[in-house]
């Protein structure tokens, strides 16, 4: 599993009200959610984000409300991975369950800046700048999370296990 894209940097404690404010939750439409992604942290994000872009943030990313729409908004807007110093647990689980790559890194937030082009190399447990000048080690997601990610999210993961039980 690899991903390559442009970096969007954010600070510590980015909460889910910043990722998708509660006032937009009465419509589930993923495109509608994506059009307000990160509105509480950066008003330009939704209009400027490009497919495969990568969010790099400080600690406690995704704290607050358990709203899964936060992951949907990021995913639908094209974000291919979120790398943070640490994640709030419900956001982390939601991301894995919906098939959005989330990876902890102690130093990525210090090493990279907005606009850097980077590539995530899960096998090598590192994120590197495309020009080869910068690198930050990654903590690989736990095996259980990787298995769910590889299946494409929790629904396909459970479906295949239900299938096994039936069959």
């Amino acid at each position: 599993m690899t991903s390559e894209g442009r970096v969007w940097k954010f600070g510590d404690d980015v909460n889910t009200d910043m990722i998708i404010p509660g006032r937009y939750l009465d419509r589930y439409d993923p495109k509608h959610l994506a059009s307000h992604a990160m509105e509480g942290a950066d008003k330009d994000f939704a209009s400027k984000v490009r497919p495969d872009d990568i969010v790099i943030a400080g600690k406690n990313f995704g704290c607050g409300s358990s709203r899964e729409q936060a992951v949907v908004a990021l995913k639908e807007s094209g974000v291919s991975a979120v790398i943070a110093k640490s994640f709030a647990r419900i956001f982390y689980r939601n991301a894995i369950n919906l098939g959005l790559l989330v990876i902890a890194s102690d130093s990525a937030a210090e090493v990279f800046k907005d606009g850097d082009m980077v590539a995530v190399d899960l096998g090598g447990s590192a994120v590197r700048s495309k020009d080869g000048t910068k690198m930050a080690p990654l903590h690989k997601p736990p095996e259980r999370a990787m298995a769910i990610l590889r299946a494409g999210g929790l629904i396909p993961y459970i479906k295949s296990s239900l299938g096994r039980e039936v069959g």
């Binding site: 910043m18 404010p21 006032r23 899964e68 647990r89 459970i158």
Partner: protein, 423 residues
């Protein structure tokens, strides 16, 4: 061999294991699984499994509370869809519009018991810890997974034990204890952990107060928070014939990650400033902050004892001109009791507006949304930027007594000026 924490015991039982330790990953079968308006999302994901019903419809709880009564035609459509779903699936524990906030109902309606495991598609599911249960939040898709399989994986958390010693001062409430903890721990200081409350002072804290502590633990990153069921619980729940035993409390030699004593006497009325939960200072330090709105309600502080505290402050007073005081009882039972006691009359006479039981303006969807530049003091649990409406609004958090005092003065106010007797 050292003993077990209550969190370890509950997760061992729920996983069918003799014993587990912090750090282990278990496959647990929850006693209850909760969702609210997001049942719509749960159902969407669940429908992909091709199953007609949840594994055990009796363990499923569905509450409409976040946007009630419906704020838009779209919400009304979602509500109707959920009503149809619960009927079709035979989900009996369904609470329709106006019955109250999900976390309140789980405890108040005695759906959750000591030693139980509750998972919910809402971050504040930890509130169930007030009756000695392990409650934790999941996302909607994961709840759909529980509907399908009856199981979910959980890492057994380390426990931070907090012993409360001494007595609270006048006009200081469990909310102030929670804000004090938030100031010490910050928004991730209890990440992934269980906060277990203990100590002699615990006997003085009602189930309602325990709900405040367990609810707010999430704001410090906790996975769950538990107040082991004790004599206070037994008195609150006399129909519970078997008093909760060792299965519902930590062993004396259990391994805690940390143990901290918290001296109640040192806690004063506190306020958390805008945008960050840990921006907590003593109420006197906010003296010049004028307010536009004062809100009493939410799963944190919308219960009878909260409304009573507010009414004691408000009795015989009027709220300041230009200020809105909005009160949303946490449940219909709370509303009915508050009506019986004359508490609602007092609030209305003081100039307050009563909303139907539910989440009210807590999540910025309706019923008191803040405009640009407006300032609200709330008895809720989150003061994130934009949480209650405009990104340019400010939210302060405090106890219901402090919120009521602020409504009278039109600025963040010290409840000790208005609450001159011990409650």
């Amino acid at each position: 061999m050292s003993g077990r924490t209550v969190a370890e015991k509950i997760l061992a039982r729920a996983s069918g294991l003799d014993s587990v330790r912090a750090g282990e990953v278990v496959e647990a079968s929850p006693d209850l699984v909760l969702s609210h308006e997001n049942t719509f999302l749960v159902d969407r994901s669940f429908s992909e499994f091709g199953l007609s019903r949840p594994w055990d419809p009796d363990r499923v709880v569905v509450v409409l509370d976040h946007r009630t009564p419906a704020n838009t035609a779209e919400t009304a459509r979602v509500h109707a869809k959920i009503r149809e779903t619960v009927k079709r699936m035979g989900i009996g524990k369904f609470f329709d519009v106006g019955q109250g906030i999900c976390h309140q109902l789980l405890v108040e309606q005695k759906l959750v018991r000591p030693g139980g495991l509750v998972v919910g598609a809402d971050s504040h599911t930890s509130t169930a810890g007030a009756v000695g249960a392990f409650g934790t939040g999941l996302g909607a898709t994961e709840v759909a997974g529980v509907w399908a399989t009856g199981r979910t994986w959980l890492k057994v958390p380390e426990t931070m034990r907090i012993n409360m010693v001494g007595h609270l001062n006048r006009a200081v409430f469990p909310k102030d204890i929670a804000l004090h903890l938030a100031s010490k721990l910050g928004p991730s200081g209890a990440d992934y952990k269980c906060i277990e409350f203990g100590g002699m002072f615990l006997f003085d804290i009602s189930i309602s107060g325990r709900m405040v502590l367990c609810n707010m633990a999430v704001e410090m990153g906790a996975k769950t928070a538990i107040v082991p069921a004790d004599a206070t619980f037994a008195a609150w729940s006399p129909e519970c014939k078997e008093p909760p035993g060792d299965a519902c409390r930590s062993d004396p030699d259990a391994r805690f990650e940390s143990t901290t004593d918290l001296e109640m006497e040192r806690i004063t009325p506190l306020v958390s400033g805008p945008h960050r939960i840990e921006a907590v200072r003593s109420v006197e330090e906010f003296g010049d902050v004028r307010i536009d709105q004062a809100f009493i309600g939410t799963c944190t502080n919308g219960r009878l004892e909260d409304l009573i505290a507010a009414s004691w402050v408000l009795k015989g007073n009027r709220i300041a001109p230009g200020v809105r005081l909005i009160v949303s009882p946490a449940s219909r039972t709370v509303l009915a009791d508050a009506l019986d006691m004359g508490v609602i009359q007092t609030i209305v006479n003081a100039g307050g507006t009563i909303l139907p039981p539910g989440c009210g303006p807590c999540l910025g969807a309706h019923e008191g949304v803040l405009g640009p530049g407006e300032v609200c003091i709330s008895s809720g649990n989150r003061n994130f930027r934009g949480r209650m409406g405009s990104d340019e609004a400010e939210i302060y958090l405090a106890s219901p007594a402090t919120v009521a005092a602020s409504a009278i003065e039109g600025k963040v106010a010290d409840p000790r000026r208005w609450l001159t007797v011990d409650l």
